[in-house]
């Protein structure tokens, strides 16, 4: 859907993006991750054509990003808000028309969304009279109303209350199932792990790693295993014990194994002490810390 090639952006003293290559597959839910100031917002603003890159190119589908593509993008910025003095309905129509919809198109779509999110009756209210949660719903509707092919959410869940967060997560999933590509940008990496299928990790304007989330996690597995046993076991041989604690099924021990702990599994099974055994995949957070500490891990097949 979006392909960035060697995108570079500099602000007077700082290089916000340094030859960034990214590929956001069509139909994916993509997590654009990295700490604050990594360059996520700079990249998003380039996709939205709010700023232009100093160097490099961004492709929308197969073609270079064009000004008319803004109508195909829905963007919820990190710094977001609405005209306080304007009525909800007028505001929704205005923003939709700026995206190229006609008044009647915008009206019928807005009606649908208002019914869907139980917002009927808000049409003639002024935004300043809405509660924060209500305003967030309106903001969400304005982002998706023109049925964009690409949805970009910058820190979408900061400032949203838990009920709205859930509601909006579900709406986003539904939009994705209907064909929209979704980009989440956040510094809270754990918040998108369950929802994203692809991620790109950015730090200091550089892409650290990018690709299918599952593959990345597999690639970064480091021989960590979890054993759940009936009784507390202290002797784990040559394997390093990372943590051990009681849990509802017995005792859960996490090991860093030197090699696949086949013997341990067999012997514990024979003693009928083993309740569960699994390999633990690293979280995105773990991967990020690992990369910042030791650099990216080379792919074996390359």
């Amino acid at each position: 859907m979006i392909t960035a090639k060697k995108v570079t952006k500099e602000y007077s003293a700082k290089r916000a993006l340094d030859a960034v290559d990214l590929c956001i597959p069509k139909g994916s839910i993509y997590g654009l991750l990295g700490p604050n100031g990594a360059g996520k917002t700079s990249f998003i603003r380039i996709m939205n054509q709010i700023t232009a890159p100093d160097d490099g190119a961004v492709y929308f589908g197969a073609e270079l990003l064009r000004p008319s593509d803004i109508a195909r993008i829905g963007y919820l910025p990190e710094e977001r808000g609405l005209y306080k003095k304007m009525k909800v309905g007028e505001q929704v129509l205005y923003l939709a028309r700026l995206k190229g919809l006609t008044t009647s198109e915008a009206k019928s779509k807005a009606k649908e969304w208002f019914e869907r999110l139980e917002m009927t009756g808000w049409w003639d209210k002024k935004v300043e009279d809405l509660s924060k949660g209500m305003a967030q719903k309106v903001q969400f509707v304005t982002t998706v109303l023109h049925e964009p092919e690409l949805l970009i959410f910058d820190e979408p869940f900061t400032g949203f209350d838990p009920i709205n967060t859930n509601l909006i997560k579900n709406e986003i999933k539904r939009l994705n199932e209907n064909g929209a590509t979704v980009i989440f940008s956040t510094h809270r990496m754990e918040s998108v792990e369950e929802i994203c299928d692809h991620i790109g990790l950015i730090d200091n304007g550089k892409v650290m790693i990018e690709g299918n989330l599952l593959e990345i996690r597999k690639h970064y597995k480091d021989g960590t295993f979890a054993f759940t046993t009936r009784t507390s076991i202290t002797d784990w041989g040559e394997h390093e014990v990372l943590s051990q604690k009681e849990d509802p099924m017995g005792y859960r021990t996490i090991l860093k194994a030197v090699a696949f702990p086949k013997d341990l599994v067999i012997s514990l099974s024979q003693k009928e002490a083993l309740v569960a055994f699994e390999e633990v995949l690293p979280t995105v957070n773990d991967i990020f810390i690992e990369i910042v500490k030791n650099g990216p891990k080379p792919w074996n097949h390359e």
Partner: protein, 435 residues
């Protein structure tokens, strides 16, 4: 897809025009304006309090002058009174002031003029002093003339009142009578109006930009339109509000003035008119002269000039104010940038008097070429009839500067609207120009 800039103009225009404050200001404006025209006339026509002044006139200099409407002069007999008695009288009576004219020795006018005293229960007003000065000077002059054997009648005949009629040399012999006082008034009023309007509407642009920034909607909008389009849409939309407001004001002021003058105070206006037509001959010629002068003023030029310089000045300043609004987070921070931006306008107002007195001097010329002052200064000069090339040159400079300034302001604006929580310095603003 319709051009989004029209949508922005539409929103900026409608959201302001539909506000209660717009309706209020637009309706109250002409009321205030009409009051400004009518109230002074009303006040001036009100009868003043009568003041009674007791005069101890030892040399019989003023006697038997009875004063005028507001000031009644009443005389004490100098044979029965002296200054102390007169003072006691003032203290215990209803008189407002005491005028003491001593005769001294030999009734010497030069002695008298230096020893006249005025006592009041309160501080005697400047007006009263001026009036008495005038009366006494006249009497002392006459006394001096008589003393030197000159007939005051002859002096009165000799006294001449020169009345120069000035003309502006026309192209083909049709010289126009020049009308300096009218032109001065016109220049001053239109210059002030332009200053007021430019400032009023430019500040609205700045507020609008800050509102979008502080409500955080601006990034949503510029993901749909270019920042430059948003800025220009706002400037044009608010400009249209100005045009509408101005048209309503002119219309309503006219209606209100007519209504008041014909219905509410008909006798007052009839009096004024009668004084002009049938009253004393002096008033008559003054009226005719004013009519002549008005005819010599080129109103088409002034109205077109006003429209041009209002828009030119407004566009120029509103672009600057938009840049200022984009750079700050709250209105209080805008002061440091607003002052330097408004200094040229203030300068134009400060020099207005000099420009009026010498509309073709070099100060006036240069101030009407410099684009930041030209809308005001040129407007002041326009009624005096300015060479066409000067008007066109000044207009061309203004338009050219507008394009440069809008380009620069647009750059600052583009960066500024996305910059939060940062106290911006001048140095930083210049850096943004290079982004």
């Amino acid at each position: 897809m319709s051009n989004p800039i029209f949508l922005i103009i539409q929103r900026e225009f409608l959201s302001r025009v539909r506000k209660k404050t717009f309706i209020l200001v637009t309706l109250i404006g002409p009321l205030a304006f009409a009051a400004l025209m009518i109230v002074p006339g009303l006040l001036a026509s009100m009868p003043e309090d009568n003041k009674r002044i007791v005069v101890l006139d030892e040399p019989s200099l003023l006697l038997p002058h009875e004063g005028k409407e507001q000031y009644t002069l009443e005389y004490l007999d100098p044979r029965e009174n002296d200054l102390e008695l007169a003072k006691d009288l003032l203290r215990d009576s209803e008189y407002d002031a005491l005028l003491y004219i001593p005769s001294g020795e030999n009734w010497d006018p030069d002695f008298i003029k230096n020893n006249i005293l005025l006592f009041g229960k309160e501080d005697p007003s400047m007006e009263l002093q001026g009036y008495l000065d005038y009366l006494l000077e006249e009497q002392i002059n006459q006394a001096k003339l008589l003393k030197n054997g000159v007939d005051p009648e002859i002096v009165a005949q000799i006294k001449t009142n020169v009345n120069i009629k000035s003309f502006t040399l026309g192209e083909e012999g049709n010289d126009e009578q020049s009308a300096v006082p009218i032109k001065m008034a016109l220049g001053y009023i239109t210059g002030m109006l332009i200053y007021f309007f430019i400032f009023f509407y430019s500040v609205q642009v700045m507020r609008g930009v800050m509102e979008e920034k502080s409500s955080r909607i601006v990034e949503v909008i510029i993901s749909s339109v270019r920042p430059y389009q948003l800025m220009m849409g706002k400037i044009l939309g608010i400009g249209l509000v100005g045009v509408l407001q101005f048209i309503i004001w002119i219309g309503l002021s006219g209606v209100l003035y007519t209504v008041i003058s014909t219905l509410i105070f008909p006798e007052l206006f009839a009096e004024q008119a009668a004084a002009g037509i049938a009253g004393n001959p002096a008033a008559d010629t003054v009226g005719l002269e004013i009519m002549d002068m008005l005819r010599s003023v080129n109103f088409t030029t002034i109205i077109m000039g006003f429209a041009f310089y209002f828009f030119g000045g407004y566009f120029l300043y509103s672009a600057l104010f938009a840049a200022v609004g984009s750079a700050v987070d709250q209105e209080a921070d805008s002061q440091q940038f607003m002052l330097p931006v408004t200094i040229p306008m203030i300068l134009a107002i400060i020099t207005a008097m000099n420009v009026i007195q010498e509309p073709n001097g070099s100060l006036a010329f240069w101030m009407s070429m410099i684009p930041l002052t030209s809308p005001i200064t040129m407007m002041i000069r326009l009624p005096f009839g300015i060479p066409l090339w000067e008007v066109f040159l000044s207009g061309a400079i203004l338009v050219a500067t507008f394009f440069i300034v809008v380009g620069l302001a647009g750059k600052i604006y583009r960066v500024g609207i996305l910059m939060y929580g940062k106290k911006v310095t001048w140095k930083e603003l210049f850096k943004w120009l290079k982004y």
